[in-house]
């Protein structure tokens, strides 16, 4: 896809009622989220409907979320099932890459986090290793760890959920 085609696509998408658009063609991947996606998100959080409405309806539609950062907003999407059960809105910490998941920085060290721990945005939660490059993953959310979704030293995929976090 050329840059121009992507521009045109985003233009069309922002005119539509779509909240999210994903395209995959071989190695090429594109993911776009529009203003409607944020509305959806906002609805499931505790915000009054009025606040969701744009303050100035004449303003041009905001640019669609950048395609390269699908994980950022996804992390703030609450797990829908949990919400229905009324068990609270859990946030997800997802893997930004393919690799091997480690809960501690080395085998003789305690895990970064365990169930019940309170984490801050920017705090380290795990290591993901790929090709001898070690990545300390910092949380994009704050809250209490409810569940660790992956066993230590197991392979993880891109966007796989690693932790469930209770933000309340």
């Amino acid at each position: 896809m050329t840059f121009k085609e992507i521009q045109e696509l985003i233009k069309q998408l922002s005119k539509s009622n779509l909240s999210e658009f994903k395209l995959k063609d071989g190695e090429f991947e594109l993911s776009v989220r529009t203003k409607h996606y944020n509305k959806q998100n906002a609805k499931s959080q505790i915000i009054t409907p009025q606040a969701v409405m744009p303050a100035a309806p004449v303003a041009p539609p905001p640019a669609a979320a950048p395609a390269s950062a699908p994980a950022e907003k996804a992390a703030s999407a609450p797990a829908p099932e949990a919400a229905e059960e009324g068990a609270g809105n859990y946030l997800e910490v997802k893997s930004p890459m393919v690799g091997t998941f480690y809960r501690s920085s080395s085998p003789d060290k305690p895990p970064y986090v365990k169930v019940g721990d309170t984490i801050e945005k920017g705090g380290p939660v795990c290591i993901i290793e790929a090709m001898k490059l070690f990545n300390e993953i910092e949380s994009e959310v704050s809250g209490k760890i409810v569940k660790v979704m992956v066993e230590d030293a197991q392979p993880v995929e891109y966007d796989q959920v690693l932790f469930l976090v209770d933000p309340s």
Binding site: E72, P96, M97, S106, A130, F134, E136
Partner: protein, 255 residues
């Protein structure tokens, strides 16, 4: 201070310690409390708890070898392109070794062991910090054996620069100075978008490239093959009996 250093930023701030458990660990601790200037180098004459891969140790005797870490902020790089950090570090380190040992064959054994005439003389450990799709910081750790003449028996394949060229006189400080310069050059090339040039240079120095060799899978099965390249995320490509195979670390052993 590195007296003869000719760089813009790498090594301009040098934190030297007579003794440290690990220069990488020190750098990461520093990053957790502050934002050191880009290119800050931490080095020690005596690293007591250096690491290779998780669980494996790198042995070094006081003052004999280079053990250092460099702090960089490659915010321009995508998470899936992070193998480029390994490529620029391997290239910079190889160029340093080659400069001092012009008569030796210097290679990088995939993904990042430094080899001189088929013996290991150094290693690299890169540790990034990620938030979402953003590389917040990277710590590039490098160890090069320079003056060490004897090695523990359990690492029979180790060598040092002095073992390769016994009549030369090497200084750890000079090796570090040259590494800072070479790394900065390669880092700026990466920042300038020269990915494919860097990858080609890495392949040119890759041990076993385009050679018929025997490989082994973790289950013990052996197979003949030929390394033909690497993928963007750093996986090794081996052609075996007409089939193209892709390998992660620990999925294949060189024989």
């Amino acid at each position: 201070m590195l007296q003869k250093l000719n760089t813009l930023f790498i090594g301009k701030v040098l934190l030297e310690f007579p003794k440290l458990p690990s220069t990488n660990a020190y750098a990461i601790d520093l990053l957790s409390k502050s934002r050191p200037i880009e290119g800050t180098v931490i080095s020690t004459a005596n690293q007591t708890d250096g690491r290779g891969q998780i669980g494996s140790k790198w042995n070094s005797l006081p003052g004999e070898n280079l053990t250092c870490s460099v702090i960089l902020y490659p915010g321009f790089l995508l998470v899936r392109q992070q193998f480029m950090l390994n490529i620029i570090t391997s290239l910079a380190a190889l160029e340093v070794i080659q400069h001092y040992l012009p008569n030796c064959n210097c290679h990088v054994k995939w993904p990042n062991d430094l080899y001189v005439d088929n013996q290991k003389t150094g290693g690299i450990l890169i540790q990034n910090s990620l938030q979402g799709q953003h590389i917040q910081s990277t710590v590039i750790g490098l160890g090069i054996n320079i003056l060490q003449k004897s090695f523990p028996e359990d690492i029979p394949n180790a060598t040092s620069m002095i073992l390769q060229a016994p009549d030369e006189s090497f200084s750890v400080e000079n090796v570090l100075t040259l590494f800072c310069e070479k790394l900065e050059k390669r880092y700026l090339q990466l920042k300038g978008g020269k990915q494919s040039h860097l990858k080609d240079s890495y392949l040119n120095h890759l041990l076993g490239l385009e050679e018929d060799r025997q490989f082994q899978k973790p289950d013990g099965n052996r197979f003949p093959g030929r390394i033909t390249g690497i993928t963007e995320d750093g996986r090794l490509i081996i052609i075996s009996e007409g089939k193209k195979l892709y390998f992660n670390l620990k999925e294949v052993i060189f024989l």
